[in-house]
């Protein structure tokens, strides 16, 4: 049994702490999936590579080939790890542009782990006040634990002490892996291969 896991990160620098957090979450989730007998297929999407394409798609209406592939990967994912830096009290504009382009009906019920990074721990609740409602709108199945990593969290050692970043990553990854393993594989509807028959449109 295989499941696709897609990391979407809106980190701007290279390397970025959002990517770093996404990688740690992905590695922990993969480990828990393997423990549950599930073979993970990992894909990482760096939104910085799509920045211009996302602006173009908003104005022109169609995605570039590369952006199209990333949107399709998210819609076909069995689980998504979404990581944004916190800017001005909320997710970054780049992060929002990408999820604005996601069809909420097609995304419905996808297990999602939400995560964010910031310079200080004072922004940590932005993840609950801004990111969680965004995924509620998209009708995603967001796991209970969200992971916020402030810069100082990266210097607190490798031990999973209560409330540490390592412990929170473990807890969130366990929840995501369990949600992915419990759900039948994603079967995205292709409206072109499988159109709604006209008799149904006429109802």
């Amino acid at each position: 049994m295989t499941r696709s896991l897609v990391v979407v990160t809106a980190g701007l620098s290279e390397p970025s702490s959002s990517r770093l957090l996404g990688d740690r979450l992905a590695a922990a989730t993969e480990r828990h999936l393997l423990d549950a007998g599930v073979e993970p297929r990992l894909e990482v999407i760096e939104l910085r590579a799509h920045a211009v394409d996302l602006a173009n798609q908003m104005l022109m209406g169609f995605p570039s080939t590369a952006l199209h592939a990333s949107l399709d990967a998210v819609l076909a994912a069995d689980g998504v790890i979404a990581v944004s830096p916190i800017f001005s009290g909320s997710y970054s504009g780049l992060f929002k542009l990408f999820f604005d382009a996601i069809d909420r009906d097609a995304f419905r019920a996808t297990p999602v782990l939400i995560a964010a990074t910031g310079g200080t721990p004072r922004h940590s609740l932005a993840i609950e006040h801004a990111i969680r409602p965004l995924f509620a709108y998209l009708r995603a199945a967001v796991v209970p634990t969200a992971v916020y990593a402030a810069t100082e969290d990266w210097g607190k050692g490798a031990v999973a002490t209560d409330g540490s970043l390592v412990e929170r990553i473990e807890r969130a990854a366990t929840e995501l892996a369990a949600a992915m393993a419990a759900k039948p594989p994603a079967a995205p509807v292709d409206a072109f291969a499988d159109p709604v028959p006209f008799e149904d449109l006429r109802q």
Binding site: N56, L59, G61, F62, S64, F192, P195, F198, L201, R202
Partner: protein
């Protein structure tokens, strides 16, 4: 195969001079384009329908009726007729009337419009766009085909014993295309009725147009109208030509950069690479247009957008002259040579038009 031009009737200031034509001038420009189309031997003129500024053509049959009186051969069509917010009864009557005045040189293309607030302005709900397109068109077909109609639906007051007048010319309704850029439901609708399907082929990549046309063709066959390659397909196109392709790009760039419909974001070069737009020499336009059949199959109608984005009338007419003299004659010959014998040459014509076009033996 039919070739023609279509207009959206936008009043856009010329980005070079800053001059915006008046609504009166804009309407005259649309008429001039239609008359030019007949003069240079094109087959079709199609007008958009809009009920929001900066567009002027809110009353297509008034415009097309005037053009009908000043032409003898040109087919008059729409791009598109708003099947969502117009009363289907009025569409049935208006276009039957136009058929009589134009001796059958009429077909029309159903569409859903380009701006949300038009729906509430006409008492409808945008969220019903597809159900409106489905129900209204179903009624429209019946009004043209049944002399007395009893009808009840969701969106319009019921009809009992209603006869739409005038009846279609010689009892033959106008041929109908369904136009959609991105909704598979509309390709499905066109296929269900065995009507034509038109893709504007301007704003999206060919890979997407291909999926829409393939869906229509496959479902056309599924619904028993004949093999997929006999389905009736039309495509739009956007070209600007000069003998030297660099001149074409240099001249057209300010219009592309400032035209609201192109978003003002992507570069002209990127846009040309990602969509079927061709700005270049007449030969480049010929090659690219012939390439359309590679993703759409052998098709029946090719329309080019003519007057828009603030291009001055003199430039629009020059472009049409190049189209009529250097491009369309070659495309006609080449497409005809490539077309398998069983594929329809063009869309169905009204019997009167077909009779008048028949070559005397």
């Amino acid at each position: 195969m039919q070739f023609g031009v279509f207009t959206v009737g936008d009043v856009t200031p010329d980005p070079i001079t800053g001059h915006a034509v008046s609504e009166e001038e804009r309407i005259r420009i649309m008429v001039a384009v239609a008359l030019k189309a007949e003069e240079i031997g094109l087959d079709v003129f199609a007008t958009g329908e809009h009920h929001n500024v900066p567009f002027v053509p809110s009353s297509p049959t008034t415009l097309l009726g005037y053009i009908a009186a000043r032409t003898t051969r040109l087919h008059l069509s729409t791009a598109t007729t708003l099947i969502t917010t117009n009363d289907p009864v009025k569409i049935a009557e208006d276009y039957a009337m136009l058929q009589h005045l134009a001796d059958g040189r009429v077909d029309l293309m159903m569409g859903r419009g380009n701006m949300g607030p038009v729906y509430p302005w006409f008492g409808q709900d945008l969220r019903n766009a597809i159900p409106l397109a489905v129900e209204n068109y179903d009624l429209l077909r019946r009004l043209w085909r049944e002399d007395v109609v009893d009808w009840e639906g969701r969106f319009r007051t019921p009809l009992t014993g209603f006869t739409s007048t005038p009846r279609p010319l010689d009892g033959v309704p106008p041929f109908v295309w369904h136009g959609s850029i991105r909704s598979p439901e509309i390709a499905e609708q066109a296929a269900f009725y065995g009507d034509g399907f038109f893709h504007n082929n301007i704003f999206w990549p060919s890979s997407h147009v291909k999926r829409m046309v393939e869906l229509y063709r496959r479902r056309f066959e599924h619904y028993g109208h004949g093999p997929a390659n006999k389905a009736i397909v039309g495509l739009g196109g956007h070209v600007y030509m000069r003998k030297n392709s660099q001149d074409a790009i240099r001249e057209f760039r300010p219009y592309f950069d400032h035209a609201p419909v192109y978003g003002g974001a992507m570069s002209l070069e990127d846009y040309m690479a990602q969509t079927p737009m061709t700005i270049g020499s007449p030969q480049q336009v010929i090659d690219r247009t012939l390439g359309f059949r590679e993703f759409a199959g052998d098709y029946q109608r090719q329309l080019f957008i003519a007057d828009h984005a603030g291009l001055p009338l003199t430039t629009v007419l020059e472009q049409m002259d190049i189209l009529g003299a250097e491009v369309v004659p070659v495309l006609r010959r080449e497409f005809e040579a490539l077309r398998p014998a069983e594929v329809p040459e063009g869309p169905p014509l009204h019997p009167r038009v077909a009779a008048s076009q028949a070559v005397p033996v």
